[in-house]
């Protein structure tokens, strides 16, 4: 559990969009996929996943469809919409800018001032 990090506010939406961009997933699948692609570093509180999914669907960034799950149960699968793809691109770019800016700020040494 030491390896897991708390989510920064606002990053959950981004992670969900990323997760469903690879392949349509049901809610539980999203949870597993995020855990997997973050190398088990990020653990999402389970209860907060669904309100986020519903919000993204409400905003038209992801779409939901009912399908068969691997154990033959009906499940709701989420996939990325065109608007969602755009948003993911923007957020990724924004995140990268932020990370590099903060990294460069943190790497500054006294000589560089």
């Amino acid at each position: 559990m030491d390896k897991t990090a708390d989510l920064l506010p606002g990053t959950l939406d981004m992670l969900i969009l990323k997760a469903v961009s690879l392949k349509p997933l049901h809610g539980y699948g999203v949870l597993l996929r995020i855990r997997q692609i973050s190398g088990d570093a990020l653990d999402i509180p389970q209860g907060s996943l669904y309100p986020a999914l519903y919000r993204l669907e409400h905003q038209g960034l992801i779409a939901a469809d009912w399908g068969q799950s691997d154990n033959n149960r009906r499940a709701k699968y989420y996939s990325l919409t065109a608007a969602g793809r755009r948003r993911l691109r923007e957020e990724t770019a924004g995140w990268n800018r932020l990370v590099s800016a903060i990294a460069s700020a943190l790497n500054t040494t006294s000589e560089e001032i």
């Binding site: 389970q46 907060s48 669904y50 669907e57 409400h58 038209g60 799950s69 499940a75």
Partner: protein, 889 residues
């Protein structure tokens, strides 16, 4: 925005599906997680428990999901609605009081608003109706304020006033339609050819009249209304060219008006040309309007009323230069006044209507204040509950939403009831004579009114919730939970607000009552005025000598004499007379009279006087009093020597101090040869000509019928029996002389007088009804607030009684509170009453705008009601048993 709206709509339209799908999805998650846990070696039961636990509170997740889909507001609204409905059901007494208050107050407002809307607000039913104007000649210094327009005016102005795109004249008339003797007299309108052009609403079928159709010989054409066309011609599309029989003359139909065409309040279904002769159109007839013919015009786009007025003034000035009577007209203050048509129609009734609306709004304010007070009291009683709920995490937003939802639920339900009350109210005001007001035929209940009611209910709901919501927000949970046990008294602010509302209520009620008192006293004073003749036992009716049997004044006189003879023999008839007009008939024109030997004083103008031609024994039939000389008799019309009778006002004006008998006067504005002079043979008492409140002593002259013959006649019959029983006798007598004639407008003189007071009686009756409701409301309000005060202070009272306070002291304390509220309310109310009195000046009759007696009386009534209302709570306070009061809690 759109995907969200779409998703919200989808969810709302299939709410049950949404919930089921959500549950299924969340369960799937928990099950799958549990499975994975089992697979990793956790025991099955433990796995499910852990899956559930790690998922978090199921219900709160669902709630968050709903909120994420924008469902929050709807859910909260539904919850608040259920909560409010439950609360309201739990206190049926309060709910019933509130609903009744709302229904009465809103309903009364709706009914009055319907009248205001139809008469004052809605534009006339013509395109661009704001451009329609009317104009009339006025001779204020001669005592003739309004004289209509003359045919000459029309022909002189037509096409010559650049500011008008169209100008026309009209007069109201009646016609006997169909076969002689077979039908009744119907209202018709006589109009100039451009009448419909001016209004902007031409015939739907056929054409308008032509100029060639405006002479007495060529006017045998007609334009019919849509209803007439359907009824008499079966909606025949080829009706043009067919004929209709009116007053015994065949007229060719040239046009059919569109459905819904209505000019002002006219109920005419037949429109005829307004015929005139070359003589009628000559400059000599320019000032002969007599308030019979009215003129309307349409302003050109861009032209203003002021421009049109100055053009008319300029034309009048140019025309009067050649007029031999120019000086006289200038002395009389002659002008042509231009007024917007709509405003002119409603000018007389406007102040009364606005006043009634103000009164009924005051009633609504009283009702609203009452409701706010009741709500506040309930809120205070629930303050602990609210505090507990807030302490348990109820958001303030919830509390406010609930307040707004509760009051809106109340006002909307009240609004629904108010629609019913309003619909009944509209029928009531119609019965009180509102539909006889100018444009009053348009008063009805419609969607527009329902919309107004709905809007008013919603606004009222929010307004009512405002103070409650304010208190809800300010309420500190800890304070509310403690306040009672510790202090035993209610929150000071809340109490002050409740008390100031009672004060406001009393003030408003006092204003309303005072206004009603002023109206009532005016009515009483008006009713106490003697009409100047003995109106009891007189029946009157109107006859128009139409058809071609009355070519000359002699023929008219012959009819008059025959009718007098015929009726005089009927049992019960005491005397019979005819006149070309009678008092209170609603149309009393004045004519110029020149008195021999009277030299105009500087600044004095020749005066218009009521002038009548009378036949038979008119003065005895009407019950005039004879002051000097003799009455005119039937024989005076048959004698060569010209005589007349004047009234006291006339005699006093021209011969103050001297005798009028033997003096001579002339019809018209100028004296003439001796042969045309009328010698005064009698002076009769002055009578009220147009209404009991008519204060002007204008003077009247009565000529023998032959010297002032008009085809419109009124017959008056005095009887020793019930006058109503003579109706049939009147009808048959006229028919036996000429089957082509009809007696219209048969009424007893007393009824005519009563009807003339309608514009005072009905507003007074309505105001009285409003005041009654207001008194009921303040009784409820005062009772509610004091009862609550007593209940709140039970403990305090118990303590004081235990310490030796006497019951009278306790009771007295609450009476003292009531009198303080009453005193404050009365002082405020008196200020309001003073302002109201000022505003009412115009419609008061012989009553000062500030009557101390009425004010004191109103205050006394309110005081009595308030004291009665607080007697019960005060007695309850005095009877509180200290042991019980202290043992509670």
């Amino acid at each position: 925005m759109f995907p969200r709206l779409g998703s919200l709509l989808r969810v709302l339209t299939s709410r049950r599906n949404f919930e089921a799908a959500m549950n299924e999805e969340l369960r799937f998650h928990i099950d799958r997680y549990g499975e994975d846990l089992r697979r990793s070696g956790v025991l099955p039961e433990e796995a499910l428990r852990r899956a559930r636990m790690e998922f978090g509170a199921f219900d709160s997740v669902r709630e968050d999901c709903r909120e994420a889909r924008g469902l929050y507001l709807f859910d909260e609204l539904a919850r608040a609605l259920r909560y409010s409905a439950r609360l309201l059901r739990k206190s049926p007494g309060f709910t019933a009081t509130a609903l009744l208050t709302l229904a009465l107050c809103l309903g009364a407002n709706l009914a009055i608003f319907a009248v205001i809307d139809a008469i004052l607000i809605r534009p006339l039913p013509f395109p661009d109706a704001g451009r329609l104007v009317t104009m009339y000649n006025t001779y204020p210094k001669a005592g003739v304020e309004r004289d209509g327009s003359s045919v000459t005016n029309y022909y002189e102005r037509r096409g010559r006033i650049p500011a008008f795109s169209s100008l026309s004249i009209y007069r109201f008339g009646t016609s006997i339609l169909g076969e002689p003797g077979s039908s009744e007299r119907r209202p018709v309108m006589l109009v100039s050819p451009d009448f419909f052009t001016t209004l902007g609403a031409g015939p739907a079928l056929g054409s308008i009249f032509t100029d060639a159709e405006t002479t007495y010989r060529t006017d045998d054409v007609a334009i019919v209304s849509d209803a007439f066309w359907r009824e008499h011609f079966g909606a025949d599309p080829h009706v043009i060219g067919r004929t209709v029989l009116a007053d015994g003359r065949l007229r060719t139909v040239v046009g059919v008006l569109p459905p819904g065409f209505r000019f002002l309040s006219s109920t005419a279904r037949l429109y005829l040309p307004l015929p005139s002769s070359a003589e009628n159109r000559s400059p000599a007839e320019r000032h002969s309007g007599g308030n019979v013919i009215q003129m309307i015009a349409r302003l050109k786009p861009g032209a203003t009323l002021a421009q049109a007025q100055s053009q008319i003034d300029a034309q009048n000035a140019a025309l009067e230069q050649d007029d031999p009577q120019a000086n006289m007209m200038a002395d009389a203050g002659f002008r042509t006044l231009l007024v917007p048509l709509h405003a002119d129609q409603v000018a007389a009734i406007r102040p009364t209507l606005l006043l009634l609306q103000a009164g009924v709004l005051a009633l609504l304010a009283i009702g609203a204040v009452n409701l706010v007070n009741l709500l506040l009291i309930r809120a205070s009683a629930r303050s602990k509950e609210l505090a507990v709920r807030q302490a348990l995490g109820a958001r303030r937003r919830h509390v406010v939403t609930e307040a707004v939802v509760e009051t809106t639920l109340l006002t909307l339900t009240g609004g629904l009831l108010a629609l019913a009350v309003g619909a009944a109210g509209i029928r009531l005001v119609a019965a009180l004579g509102a539909n006889r007001l100018p444009l009053g035929t348009g008063i009805h209940f419609d969607a527009r009114l329902a919309l107004v009611a709905f809007a008013a209910a919603v606004v009222l709901g929010v307004v009512l919730a405002a103070p409650f919501a304010w208190f809800g927000i300010r309420l500190q949970p800890s304070g509310a939970l403690q306040s009672e046990p510790r202090g035993g008294t209610a929150g000071r602010t809340a109490q002050t607000v409740r008390h100031s509302f009672v004060v406001a209520q009393i003030a408003l009620a006092l204003v309303l009552l005072t206004g009603t008192g002023l109206l009532g006293l005016s009515l009483e004073r008006a009713m106490a005025v003697s009409p100047g003749f003995q109106s009891g036992h007189v029946i009157t009716g109107q006859i128009s000598l139409v058809g071609n049997r009355y070519p000359s004044r002699e023929a008219g006189l012959a009819f008059v004499e025959k009718l007098v003879g015929e009726l005089g023999h009927r049992p019960g008839v005491l005397s019979v007379g005819l006149a070309n007009n009678i008092p209170f008939s609603g149309a009393n024109g004045k004519s110029a009279v020149a008195v021999a030997g009277h030299v105009l004083r500087p600044g004095e103008s020749p005066r218009g006087h009521y002038s009548y031609g009378v036949g038979g024994d008119y003065f005895r039939a009407m019950g005039f009093s004879l002051l000097a000389g003799r009455f005119l008799t039937a024989a005076d019309s048959r004698r060569e020597i010209r005589v007349c009778v004047v009234d006291q006002d006339f005699a006093r004006y021209y011969w103050p101090g001297g005798s009028a008998l033997g003096r001579r006067l002339f019809q018209g504005a100028e004296t003439g040869p001796d042969a045309q002079a009328f010698t005064v043979v009698g002076v009769v008492g002055s009578i009220k000509q147009s209404g009991l409140t008519d204060d002007a002593a204008q003077g009247a002259v009565y000529y023998p019928y032959i010297y002032r013959p008009e085809s419109d006649l009124f017959v008056a019959v005095r009887s020793g029996v019930q006058p109503g029983s003579l109706q049939t006798a009147l009808r048959t007598a006229v028919r036996s002389i000429d089957p082509g004639l009809v007696v219209a407008d048969i009424q007893t003189m007393d009824d005519r007088i009563a009807e003339s007071l309608l514009d005072r009686r009905s507003p007074a009756a309505l105001a009285a009804a409003f005041s009654g409701i207001a008194l009921l409301l303040i009784a409820i309000g005062t009772y509610g607030v004091l009862s609550y005060a007593v209940a709140q202070r039970r403990r305090e009272i118990g303590v004081r009684m235990a310490l030796g306070a006497r019951p009278e002291q306790i009771g007295g304390q609450f009476l003292w509170l009531a009198s303080r509220l009453l005193a404050a309310g009365s002082i405020l109310g008196m200020i309001g009453a003073w302002i109201t009195g000022q505003a009412m000046r115009a419609i008061l009759f012989h009553v000062p705008a500030h009557s101390p007696a009425i004010l004191a009386g109103s205050a006394a009534v309110i005081a009595a009601i308030s004291f009665l209302a607080c007697l019960l709570p005060a007695r309850r306070a005095a009877r509180i048993s200290p042991v019980q009061a202290l043992a509670e809690q």
